[in-house]
Symmetry: C2
Subunit: 313 residues, 2 copies
Amino acid sequence: MDETNATRCQKYAADIESIKEAQVRIEPFIHRTPVLSSTTLDSLVGKQLFFKCECFQKGGAFKIRGASNAIFSLDDLEASKGVVTHSSGNHAAAVSLAAKLRGIPAYIVIPKNAPKCKVENVKRYGGQVIWSEVTIQSRETVARKVQEDTGAVLIHPFNDGRIISGQGTISLELLEQVPGIDTIIVPISGGGLISGITLAAKAINPSIHILAAEPKGADDAAQSKVAGRIVTLSEANTIADGLRAFLGDKTWPVVRDLVDDVITVSDEEIIKAMQMFYDILKVAVEPSGAIGLAAVLSDQFKQSEAWKDSNKV
Amino acid sequence: MDETNATRCQKYAADIESIKEAQVRIEPFIHRTPVLSSTTLDSLVGKQLFFKCECFQKGGAFKIRGASNAIFSLDDLEASKGVVTHSSGNHAAAVSLAAKLRGIPAYIVIPKNAPKCKVENVKRYGGQVIWSEVTIQSRETVARKVQEDTGAVLIHPFNDGRIISGQGTISLELLEQVPGIDTIIVPISGGGLISGITLAAKAINPSIHILAAEPKGADDAAQSKVAGRIVTLSEANTIADGLRAFLGDKTWPVVRDLVDDVITVSDEEIIKAMQMFYDILKVAVEPSGAIGLAAVLSDQFKQSEAWKDSNKV
């Protein structure tokens, strides 16, 4: 590793090299998802839009990229005891699926109030469901207990270099599929997705604008950018159930240094974007995935540097 | 043209050569649509399934393939007077869009009871709407009057070699995207889509099974295959509004000779397939597009030669 790389790796939890390694590692287990476009949507917005459809990814979300990179990075001894996580969402299903592909147990701590469909996804992919109370404290305590009892490795949903590297493979695909792209808009929650996408995209083309899209009811990233430090909220209140987490110490530095801006949108704007995806693009997108289009349609985007720098249709 | 080709062209309205020519002609105007797959659906059925998503095609359906091939096949003098059609569905929008791309007028005869969203699509793509009564006689009379008044060329929705050749380009893409495919299931209405797909696919690999999927309430193709001649029905009664047409003299020979079987399904089975597309594949598919999955799930498919010949998951 040369000095530049060493410096970069000290600064951030992943880099273009770890992301390229992830791409090779996870290639057998994931879909290369399609990029859709619509002249109708382009006309409405006045910009050429491309949608990287990770809703068609294995397990139904991008999460399998990070989960399979983390799980297939483990050596055989580590892996033999299995893995544990305490996400109730798409990450839980992805960890279950990746563990199944590796042939090791996955222990998934799920709060009692989790949506039934998410629990069914975990079970379908062979994850062992372990119930906890609703609080984050209870979830973490139960997960720790599982670790102690089984020796399983914790696979954090976002605050982990292997997860960030896995999610970053999206940029490698996207910039191959649409070479001239000038702006990437990414949903932000814990920041694993946007950190990986940003580190890969800016390494390939430093002039690409990266905008985060965040619900107004869970705008910790927007507040953190203003404050210059990680801000957490006493509660997150949004329809976008995948975007309620707060930034971690591995994702915050990337968001702080390399993400150009955070666009916040209301739940009403998210619902309108979901409707447009369904009516015009014919894709059923969950709220957390539809937020990017909501951001594109917002006034805040129209006032951004990215808007000025990008070509009209 | 050698003797074999001459014989083939006399027999059918299109062939692999006219389909390859169409592919080159329409390439600037269409999307290469993605093929989606789902291990969940594969497990449910016990076969590996691939979905060629023409719902993501320009104009929202495969119809732009045939329409753009027909319209860009016209010489400048023919084209200058514009084109006319009397479909109220996806073909009408496709003709409007293709005519707009060529810069010529499109006259679209639409029955008074057409769904508003279909009329809006036509208008959005610049088609000139001309109202007719609901009967097919009225539609044809009005279309003929437009032809006389304007000199516009009639672009039939399916009973036309240029249309069949355009739709056939789907097979060229699909067999590149999924080389080992052993069975193709295609919705059948007037037969333009399945004729093109069949002529291309069987020219490339004669052992591929081609099955038509047809609503029980509009099963003229199934009845035609049994009778050995074109059967038309006094009425078509199905939720699949794109599958209510009857075979024409240019499509029937292909269906008679080269389509292996017709699988008929109820509207309830179509609705169930739409739901599965939405829940599992995350795609909003109209009834006429969902019928292929309904056919795959049917007992009739499990009793077919195609089922026996295809590999299990």
